[in-house]
């Protein structure tokens, strides 16, 4: 876990290469949409497709979305998926994944932690990654479909995959963490898990996102728009009441060893505004 920097996996589809870079100067962007937009600003000339998670993904309940930032029809889009992708990126020890360029032929990216295999688009899905530890984002009827159930909230992402000749993305994460104060971490985890009444969704028996007990009917719909802090942590929009509380967020970050201050959290929307101004 990178408590003082952001770790980004760069994948170049033109050259079939990949590289991990660490960015201490991006630490203040915390994660999710804030980190994704800043990375977009830095690499906008390379048509980046950027997947980002936040520092609490995989560690706490109701924080199970993944932010995706990309350009379509001249507009910068930010969309949010549920499913297992955020926890698998967390357990790959990555904060972001950036995909550049266009493959010479349709390709499936098979990631295991920082390692990338470029597979042919007809590779059997059960040959990708490790069972029980992977997430798979594929294309069905020209639309992205995550883990056989979770949808993108709009059509631009499917077009972006098609443009890049990206037929699928499999992410397997095998990293294991031990928070310094495991007892305190467990206590806070259970306190948050007990706050289901504050979640704006009904309990159900639908497929749920990793780490979410709700099984709600809307888990597969994805999200657009919403609160900057919540989308930078990449929490579920229905749990916005919990994860827009600066005190709660600070406690969670602190337990995991992050050095963010209350002011860092409070000032995040201003950082995002500045990035958006730079992007025009």
């Amino acid at each position: 876990m990178n408590s003082v920097s952001k770790k980004v996996l760069f994948i170049n589809l033109d050259k079939s290469t990949s590289e991990v870079k660490t960015f201490p100067d991006l630490h203040k962007y915390i994660g999710g949409v804030a980190l994704g937009l800043k990375l977009y600003e830095l690499y906008q000339n390379e048509d980046p497709l950027i997947f980002s998670i936040g520092p609490l993904n995989g560690f706490f309940p109701f924080i199970s979305k993944t932010s995706v930032v990309f350009e379509t029809d001249g507009l910068i889009e930010d969309v949010y998926f549920g499913g297992y992708l955020s926890s698998r990126l967390r357990f790959s020890d990555l904060d972001s994944l950036i995909i550049f360029g266009r493959a010479s032929q349709p390709v499936i990216l098979d990631l295991q932690n920082e390692s990338v295999s470029f597979r042919e688009d007809d590779a059997p899905h059960n040959s990708l990654g490790l069972p029980g530890k992977r997430s798979f984002l594929g294309i069905v009827k020209k639309q992205p479909l995550l883990d056989d159930y979770f949808l993108s909230p709009e059509s631009g992402l499917g077009q972006k995959f098609e443009k890049k000749r990206l037929a699928g993305l499999s992410v397997t994460g095998t990293a294991v963490y031990t928070p310094k104060d495991m007892d305190k971490y467990t206590t806070v985890y259970k306190q948050l898990l007990a706050r289901t009444k504050e979640v704006g969704a009904e309990h159900g028996f639908f497929p749920s996102c990793s780490g979410c007990p709700m099984g709600c009917a809307k888990s597969n719909l994805g999200e657009v728009g919403g609160n900057v802090l919540s989308h930078s942590l990449v929490a579920c929009g229905f749990a916005e009441n919990i994860y827009t509380d600066v005190g709660t967020v600070f406690s969670c970050l602190n337990i995991l060893g992050y050095d963010y201050t209350h002011e860092d959290i409070e000032n995040l929307p201003i950082l995002v505004q500045n990035v958006l101004k730079n992007l025009g």
Partner: protein, 88 residues
């Protein structure tokens, strides 16, 4: 009599992995590697919804299985006497 955890109602599983994470926390870990429970997703072409299967390592019974049973939001698990489990 020894107690054991059994996934008696896998059809109720929603794939949230809270049981996996609870077992890992008891082992002082956050992550999926070395987990004593694995949730596997099965998509049948003729069915609209996903099905999940629950793979458990027998060593799970050395943990606090009541906490694992109770963290499940859809009551997939039961705790049985070991003899009853063997017969069942």
């Amino acid at each position: 009599m020894a107690k054991c955890l059994k996934a008696s109602f896998p059809q109720k599983c929603i794939g949230c992995e809270l049981c996996v994470l609870e077992a890992q926390r008891q082992l002082k870990k956050v992550g999926l590697e070395g987990a004593l429970i694995r949730i596997l997703r099965n998509k049948k072409d003729d069915k609209e919804f996903l099905e999940y299967s629950i793979d458990m390592d027998a060593r799970i019974n050395s943990l606090d299985i009541e906490s694992i049973r109770s963290v499940c939001p859809t009551e997939v698990f039961e705790i049985l006497n070991e003899d009853a489990h063997e017969l069942g």
